[in-house]
Amino acid sequence: MAMLDLQKPEASCASPPEILRERGQREVFCGLTGIIWLHRKIQDAFFLVVGSRTCAHLIQSAAGVMIFAEPRFATAIIDERDLAGLADANAELDRVVNRLLERRPDIKLLFLVGSCPSEVIKLDLSRAAQRLSRSFEPRVRVLNYSGSGIETTFTQGEDACLAALVPSLPAAPATAPRELLVVGALADVVEDQFKRIFERLGIGPVRFMPPRSALDLPQVGPGTRYLLAQPFLGDTARALDDRGAKWLPAAFPLGAEGTTAWLRAAADAWGVDPEHFGAVTAAHRARAETALARYRAKLEGKSVFFFPDSQLEVPLARFLTREMGMRAVEVGTPYLHRQHLAADLAMLPADQAYSEGQHVDNQLDRCRAARPDITVCGLGLANPLEAEGLTTKWSIELLFTPIQGYEQAGDLAELFARPLERRARLAA
């Protein structure tokens, strides 16, 4: 099934990379998985997947869900009767939502999340969301997006969720002063750090999306300038552009260099004096450098191989190669957004090998042949590769750990150093 083609992309930016595009079995989660972090981030939102037992099992398996008493997500499992008639399926959905909202009066925002089965049977969740919104507003707003595996890969679920949220953002008055919007779920502690730095730079007001509460939606309008905190937000960015907001192109805030570049994009837009920028960020940069130096000694000269997972692969490769002195054998990513990743791509070597999409068996062959020092891959591949003698780093940990910003640069490096350190200790 391997449909390979080495495609030269249209000449655009400085060094257009060559990308191996593959089609075959993918070893990546679907977009439903984003619910695992989104439901913790927006604390008064509930995510109701309309799908199959597989969907329910996927989320609980990926998240190890049993730790929660009653999580803020659930699955409305479609059964045979729902397949027999769509009208009944809609009535059933209304019944399920009614029962859910009765039980959970604390919920202010409900996402109906489409899945592979709901897409295939063409259950129209946007109409369902409108219908349910009419009955529950103002108490609860009901929105919808698709996290289906036939349309979304892993982190694209967050993109679809945030894009669905954009039309609900209040419009900023035409005369409103410009405002900075940071887009993409970040750990609360990272948000707070960035907030303090922006304040000291004199950049503001600053808002974050997704917000911690559904009642605290940022306004948006022509005065909005936004920074992407995550590289997988193509649809969200387009929706924001449609509302008149303007993207501030920047490398992603991973590592000291990436964080500086990211902050500088906002500083430049706000006309912050470069000296002031240098003064505000100096202490942070120095601290990050100190933290990074410890791990550079362990990572320098080592090779890394990325299996596609979160779309964070390109900025991570940039961080590891430039700040840690590593060599990226192959940077696999589910989807490579040329425009959003332009700054990161430009910082990687011109002959860097990339792959987009996946044919997992072929890719495993390449990985085994290359025998990289570290392989970044999903949970389904990690133990089998370890058993073959390769050192691996679970890619999902890179999403569930605060890694952005100066204060986390060392933590990010440590995530890659730890598997090597462990192997060395066990060999001793």
Binding site: M1, A2, G24, Q25, R26, E27, V28, F29, C30, G31, T33, S52, R53, T54, A56, H57, L58, Q60, S61, A62, V65, M66, I67, A69, E70, P71, F73, A74, T75, A76, I77, I78, D79, E80, D82, L83, A89, E92, L93, R95, V96, R99, L100, C116, P117, E119, V120, S148, G149, I150, E151, D361, L379, G380, L381, A382, N383, P384, E386, A387
Partner: protein, 535 residues
């Protein structure tokens, strides 16, 4: 549509994966979209398997739906055969592919692969994981062993004199609850009584092994949820003796030994007279006295739940106050078992119902799945895990079977350890005002920070009850009995009862009051109820 927060069983194709992964040289081509590969991590992370499951997913996308998903399937099956060189192939669809009706069986047939290909029809919108495993194993056994079937009604020729009887152990799978160790234990046990295990399947078996499942004299479905159907067919088709007892617990293991010895024409009296297990003596020894009448709640798959209830009641002297299963296919068996303890079985796959039942029954020990472990933790009740769904902790590094005589030892240890030791319990009862020994502190061996049940905390607040209108008891009213009100001094006295039996005392006293139409519970009522119910 069913609102589901958490599910005990995965979809049926995960059951099929458990069969494929257990086998050595069988590959499963699954028509499925991206995302369904999550199931790989169950095997690689939870079970820590060192190999990827032998499963190829076609990974179709929305843009494929218009046209060539069938071609995608054929290409995936052809590539999988070329790359993995399996000796047999399973083909099927996950929930989404079932909707697009590509007919993987027909498509695979058209490829004319030089190996047996078994088409699986697993209705995802009706059935679940264990059913899927059972159906897959049954179809595979029929497809591979079927061609070797003798003419219907053919009697098995007598064994050569002096040769040992041979049996097959069926049902152990990948991702099974202690299956690996159970199989090792039963193989050892059978060897000690003079029976050879010919084939263990599907765990560790090859396609060639499956094909000759009919050769053994005896067929043992160790896990009836998974192997019951295949075993019944094998026994009938090949005139094999079917041994139905599942050897979990000392009593059941004795019965198993007797049953299989009879099937093999052997005398097992020697081994039955000298059982290699400590569990019965440990249970008889005086320090186990405190276990008497402990109220246990049991929930799990049908086989493990029924076995656990029997062991709890007969081998440990507990009182079974609740018994249930999520295996609807075996609801009848569990209901029958519950009758032995004078209770009604709880048949549900909604853990919130299980949680409500545990809260209502206030057991002193919960024997359940990992979900019941969490439920019990929230309610401050000790718990031991007896059944799938599995968790990484259910694959211990040490040898830890549930079956056979060593299994009985393991069960004694794992069920008794979470309980408070007898002396600790006495001291708490005597010196209940001790500033270090109180509700919040929990018991030392369960670790620090054990929070108490929110339910009972709420119940501890007398205000709500006092605000409620005092209703005069009306014994004539046949409707729901009115909850009696606790007088403040009775409430205070109740708090002097050690926390780990307080729930039971509250429940008993309230029941006593309702039955007698007492509207306000006083200190006197509390002690009246105590005298009535005993400890």
């Amino acid at each position: 549509m069913q609102l589901t927060v958490w599910t005990y069983e995965g979809p049926p194709h995960v059951g099929a994966m458990r069969i494929a992964t257990a086998l050595e040289d069988v590959h499963y081509v699954l028509h499925a979209p991206q995302g369904d590969t999550y199931a790989d991590l169950l095997f690689t992370m939870i079970e820590r398997r060192a190999k990827r499951p032998p499963v190829t997913y076609t990974t179709f996308q929305a843009r494929d739906l218009g046209g060539d998903t069938a071609d995608l399937f054929k290409a995936a099956a052809r590539d999988a055969f070329a790359r993995f060189q399996p000796k047999a192939m399973l083909v099927g669809a996950s929930c989404t592919a079932e909707l697009i009706q590509d007919d993987p069986g027909g498509l695979a047939k058209a490829l004319a692969l030089p190996i047996p290909v078994v088409a699986l029809e697993l209705p995802s919108y009706q059935k679940k994981e264990n059913w899927g495993a059972s159906e897959t194993f049954y179809r595979l056994v029929r497809a591979l062993a079927g061609p070797h079937a003798p003419a219907p009604g053919t009697k098995r020729p007598a064994r050569e004199p002096g040769s040992r009887a041979r049996c097959n152990l069926l049902g152990a799978t990948a991702l099974g609850f202690r299956h690996r160790d159970d199989v090792a234990e039963i193989v050892k046990l059978l060897d000690s009584i003079g029976i050879d295990v010919d084939i263990v399947a599907p765990l560790g078996a090859t396609a060639a092994d499956i094909a000759r499942l009919g050769e053994a004299d005896i067929c043992v479905p160790l896990y009836p949820e998974i192997a019951g159907q295949a075993a019944a067919w094998l026994a009938k088709t090949f005139d094999q003796k079917l041994v139905r007892t599942v050897p979990i617990g000392v009593g059941a293991t004795r019965e198993f030994v007797a049953e299989i010895a009879e099937a093999a024409g052997l005398d097992a009296s020697a081994i039955l007279a000298d059982m290699p297990t400590r569990a019965p003596w440990y249970s008889k020894s005086v320090d186990s006295n405190y276990l008497t009448g402990k109220r246990v709640f049991v929930f799990g798959d049908a086989t493990h739940a029924i076995a656990a209830a029997r062991i709890a009641a007969r081998e440990l002297g507990f009182t079974v106050v609740g018994l249930g299963t999520y295996s609807r296919e075996f609801a009848r068996e569990v209901r029958e078992a519950a009758k032995l303890y004078g209770i009604e079985a709880l048949i549900t796959d909604d853990y919130l119902e299980v949680e409500a039942k545990v809260a209502e029954l206030q057991p002193e020990l919960v024997l359940g799945t990992q979900m019941e472990r969490h439920i019990a933790k929230r309610q401050g009740v000790p718990c031991a895990v007896i059944s799938a769904p599995v968790h990484v902790q259910d694959f211990p590094a040490r040898y830890s079977p549930q079956m056979g005589f060593e299994g009985a030892n393991v069960l004694f240890d794992t069920w008794v350890h979470p309980l408070m030791m007898g002396l600790e319990e006495h001291l708490l009862t005597m010196f209940r005002g001790d500033f270090e020994f109180h509700d919040g502190a929990g018991s030392s061996h369960l670790g620090a920070g054990k929070s108490h049940a929110p339910a009972s905390v709420a119940a501890e607040k007398p205000d709500a009850a006092q605000d409620a209108p005092i209703v005069v008891a009306a014994p004539a009213a046949a409707a729901a009995p009115v909850a009696p009100v606790w007088a403040p001094d009775a409430e205070k006295e109740l708090k002097k009862i050690p926390f780990f039996v307080r729930g039971k005392a509250r429940r008993n006293t309230e029941r006593f009051s309702v039955e007698r139409g007492v509207a306000v519970i006083t200190v006197e009522t509390l002690y009246d109820a105590k005298a009535h119910f005993g400890r």
